[in-house]
Symmetry: C2
Subunit: 277 residues, 2 copies
Amino acid sequence: MNTYATIKTQTVEAANGVTYAYRDLGEDGAQRPLVLLQHFRGNLDNWDPALIDVLAAGRRVITFDNRGVGATTGTTPDTVTAMAEDAIAFIAALDLGSVDLLGFSLGSFVAQEIALIRPNLVRRVVLASSAPQGASGMHGWSPQVVAAVGGETASAEGYVGIFFTRPENATAAGRVFGTRTEGHDAPATWSTAVAQYDAVTRWGIPNHALLQRVQGITQPVFVANGDSDPMILPRYSHLLAGLLPDATVKIYPDAAHGFLFQHHEQFAADVAAFLDR
Amino acid sequence: MNTYATIKTQTVEAANGVTYAYRDLGEDGAQRPLVLLQHFRGNLDNWDPALIDVLAAGRRVITFDNRGVGATTGTTPDTVTAMAEDAIAFIAALDLGSVDLLGFSLGSFVAQEIALIRPNLVRRVVLASSAPQGASGMHGWSPQVVAAVGGETASAEGYVGIFFTRPENATAAGRVFGTRTEGHDAPATWSTAVAQYDAVTRWGIPNHALLQRVQGITQPVFVANGDSDPMILPRYSHLLAGLLPDATVKIYPDAAHGFLFQHHEQFAADVAAFLDR
């Protein structure tokens, strides 16, 4: 049986000329495929393999590097809208039909934008550590967060400090960085990090008139976060749940940005219950 | 020992010329007095005496009829802002200094407005079944809600249907209407109901630019609702918690608009923990 830590990376060329690297786990069944959208500076290897394996026990799960990230060709764009267009091109290239989306952090912004640009492509949406465009107080991240994960050389200590509340809760970091032994993805470059940071910062330019945008997402949405996420505060998950027409929200205890890896079994069960209900 | 069902109604004349009816239970201690702000068409008798008694076990609790309501003189105004000004005049008349506020439904809109108009009067705020001004989708209540509680003659069945999910959960309705045997308050008049409905409807005129207003409430806020409130949907509690700078939110299970009466012991314990922390 395939596992996320051993499955090979594949490639597909899309109509936009980009060759996307992706991994495809689990089986097509009664459910739509679940397409995952990755966080700032993350590549295929940055998904916790334990989380992907349990998600893929019940459905087909697809991870991919968006344009310019990791092993995917092209240049990383600096807006969430362009990233959404690139993700739509990837989904079209795989001929998946409509899909479920699970977006994490920056990927959750992209998921919102896909649902707004191409609603009939999207059946249901999971937003992990998310925020609506224009919310006040999330512009550019705090200096502590930028110092931890925004430098030209990313450190394991910085990652663990943002993703987990305490070292005892950071078991998943070992899984992310230590499970795969061959066939690693290419790391995200510094120019990718700069472009993605610009996109995140633009998303956070305060403008309450833009909060109305997510009312256009009429699909069911599951909004989730850790109770102590320093990167995207949990109050933005409540804000999304208040603005979206059909949302449920869950805040996971004693958890930071990596709550979905730390609580991977509970989170996957909650996602499965939401997608299958 | 005094209980809310037996304590006498008092009156005080404020600088605005209005003579306010109020009830004053519990003792001044280390805590600030807790002033309660009542729901649409509610008077002093519409507070669940069991809830007030348990709240007053740890602090001084004051209920009152705002201008034109029940036994208080004057004409009920048709804006939340005017209601907030009237409440401020009452608090000043009792010479309470700064207070904690617990606003329920329409009273929660008034509580927000008091905190915005006179921040140094307010230490902490509890918003029960609340929503921020300008949120989409809450304009004028649903036809079912208006039919149940908005008619010229209010019915017990209508009240129970809006306040409780099932008749089995409506024990508190018996407490509200059946515990006090003498010294009842005057009922709210039809002209009070009309003015209050206008105020609620104006509050609900959709305008997302107004969502920014509650960022001015920098005090800690506890936002609470029932999971099945048909009058003010629980997603507006999430919305408030996402917009307020310092809020916590709790949604009570199997409960509608009267969740704070149905779950009076748990709600009072949560309020006490919030006010005393």
